[in-house]
Symmetry: C2
Subunit: 151 residues, 2 copies
């Protein structure tokens, strides 16, 4: 169980202000929902959660996608593309930590301490390769899901 920092409305507003983005209802809500989630979320899940949470009129998928894209550009959010799913999941980028083990069933994440990136950077310098993103992802089953699925 990792400590998860819930991110309330005022924090969401703050983040948006920091990023120089307009503070609309949709954006605040998306950030709040992501902040409350234990796992990365797909656009569709965000829409469902929004409906459940009381955004009376709901949240349009196109709005969710447009904002996730925007957030990703600003570095507020990261994409995850699990091998077994077509769709793209998004996680809040809270502390610049890109290294996780991700449960294929429930998508829970275990952060990994190790960052081998300095070493790799040295190797790439030799090849004159300029890195923009990197990711280290381990997929598998967490202990709860293994029990649940009997494997």
């Amino acid at each position: 169980m990792s400590e998860r920092e819930y991110l309330g409305r005022e924090m969401a507003l703050h983040i948006l202000k920091e990023a120089g983005l307009r503070r609309t209802e949709a954006r605040v809500l998306i950030l709040e929902l992501m902040g409350e989630s234990e796992t990365p979320l797909e656009a569709r899940q965000i829409q469902d959660l929004a409906a459940a949470k009381g955004m009376s009129e709901g949240l349009w998928l196109s709005t969710v996608y447009r904002n996730l894209e925007l957030f990703a550009e600003k570095g507020l959010v990261q994409e995850v593309k699990p091998p077994e799913s077509e769709s793209i999941f998004y996680r809040l980028e809270v502390h610049g930590h890109n290294h996780y083990a991700i449960c294929e069933n429930c998508h829970m994440e275990i952060p990994l301490d190790l960052c081998p990136f300095e070493e790799i950077e040295r190797q790439l310098q030799a090849a004159d390769f300029v890195p923009t993103h990197h990711r280290l992802e381990v997929f598998g089953l967490c202990s709860a899901c293994r029990r649940r699925l009997n494997r």
Copy 2:
């Protein structure tokens, strides 16, 4: 420039036999084309290459997808999902090396020597997490593309 082992027709036939798969024209061709490629390929590229190479009637996309999926199941091929592209790329799994820097422009790959996985496995054991896949991918621009694109 890494040594790339071309994989000829007879080798492709051998691989299929090993995997217990029927040796059809389509499968042999797909493996050959992947073996000749410097980069991971999308289904569409495989189709185009097949047409260019003389598969007179061409190769249907559905056939390519069905076989890539099959190859992936058998562990002959791995998926790559680059952050900037919708589509799935596939690389031949030749020597069990999952760690690359991948050029976002030309998709050339630089294999990375470092495999931090033993260390990670230790961390995950403590969390009772059973890994099935892992990947370490660095995206960026190779030196040729940087020159070509003037960046």
